[in-house]
Subunit: 238 residues, 2 copies
């Protein structure tokens, strides 16, 4: 897809995510096309893609509406992510992981150890944490060498805050956030231990539980998914 069409798609994703296009709103091709300064063609393509991603829902007869994403749906998606990543962790445990993947996981863990050994977290630490957190999870998923898992996860990842590619933290409670992310990091340690020792069932159960670390978002998000002011959001394109 060309740079132009990609931009339309990304723009629409963001407009939906930040509520610029409110949930339930009916979206038509012509107004959106004019608003973005392009013709209807790339918008048409983007609408189909967004429908596949679950961000738009097509009406009975004509047109698309912005899908209302409730905290419940995000929680549902997180639960699905838990079982899928759990499956990946189990397969990786049973098949064994490559030395490169093992090194990558170990590097993620020691990076985190260095971060948390300071006893507090800065904003830059959070960026850092987010990066190796993503790398940790992606490495395990790739280590399963099961394309179907990747495919199924890529679907979930389009829902805001249902994927590992976006985290949020409360700037006004960095002590609490330190404890939360440190706990998450400790879970990484024992997940690696399980995988490294071929304990598939243990790795799976731990990874499932680990997904709940993200469940917090379903509590701070209102049904209209507006993020409170004192929260910082970090996202990556993946």
């Amino acid at each position: 897809m060309s740079k132009h069409g990609q931009r339309v798609l990304i723009t629409l994703r963001k407009m939906i995510a930040n509520g610029e296009l409110p949930p339930g709103e009916r979206v038509a091709e012509i107004p959106i096309a004019e608003r973005l300064g392009v013709s209807r063609t790339p918008v048409r393509i983007a609408f189909r893609t967004l429908e596949q991603e679950g961000l738009l829902r097509k009406g009975d007869r004509r047109g698309y509406t912005v899908r209302a994403i409730t905290p419940t749906e995000i929680a549902d998606a997180i639960e699905v992510r838990g079982v899928l990543e759990g499956l990946a962790a189990r397969i990786a445990s049973e098949r064994g992981i490559s030395p490169q993947a093992r090194n990558c996981l170990i590097e993620c863990l020691s990076t985190g150890d260095a971060l948390f050994s300071k006893g507090h977290l800065t904003d830059e630490d959070m960026e850092n944490y987010h990066d190796f957190n993503m790398r940790f999870h992606n490495t395990i998923i790739e280590s399963s060498r099961n394309i179907a898992i990747e495919d199924a996860l890529s679907r979930n990842d389009h829902l805001p805050f249902a994927s590992v590619s976006s985290i949020a933290f409360n700037r006004d409670d960095m002590v609490g956030e330190f404890r939360r992310f440190n706990f998450s990091h400790m879970q990484h340690h024992i997940i690696f231990d399980a995988i490294d020792n071929g304990q598939g069932a243990r790795a799976e159960a731990l990874m499932r539980e680990h997904a709940n670390a993200a469940l917090r978002y379903t509590k701070i998000l209102s049904p209209e998914h507006a993020m409170p002011e004192n929260f910082t959001v970090i996202e990556r394109e993946d």
Copy 2:
């Protein structure tokens, strides 16, 4: 989507599934459009959709290629389906199911009991079995009331023989097939028992194991996924 565009999409899906477009083949818009007697526009739309479904893969720079679907990938997708339906069964067990859903499941079970009590299976029986088998699975998935599960499964379902919407059986070994499908049906019974008694973990484990009933396809399918002559394939649009 209009009837015209849907037809293009379905036609292309079938052409990929039955090997008319061989795996690895490069597909261009213009030849396909001429072959189907339509303009490039609906083909373009269909290509994006097929890419989202995992049936096409876009090349580095230009064009799409038919994704080579190996028996391993089908097995991977079946494993994913197992954990997702297992999750649905567990949630359904824990939340409880509606009286309507319960009746539907019971009806599926007694229909099957009537079928298998004859001691043998005809081709029409297989059509019947396929219908209530799909209804049984879909009812459990819907009973989870977790949209994310449905979404994730709908992705898998596009890979041939990775979903419950297609089954195949060997006409030359109907005794063996009777035993196989009867076993499958017995699994339905105990899955229902677990769900009906709120035994979430048991329901989940049983449903996971039940998915392996489809693993047989990965053995009879050659890497070029040609179905042997003596097998009958039943598919539904769902």
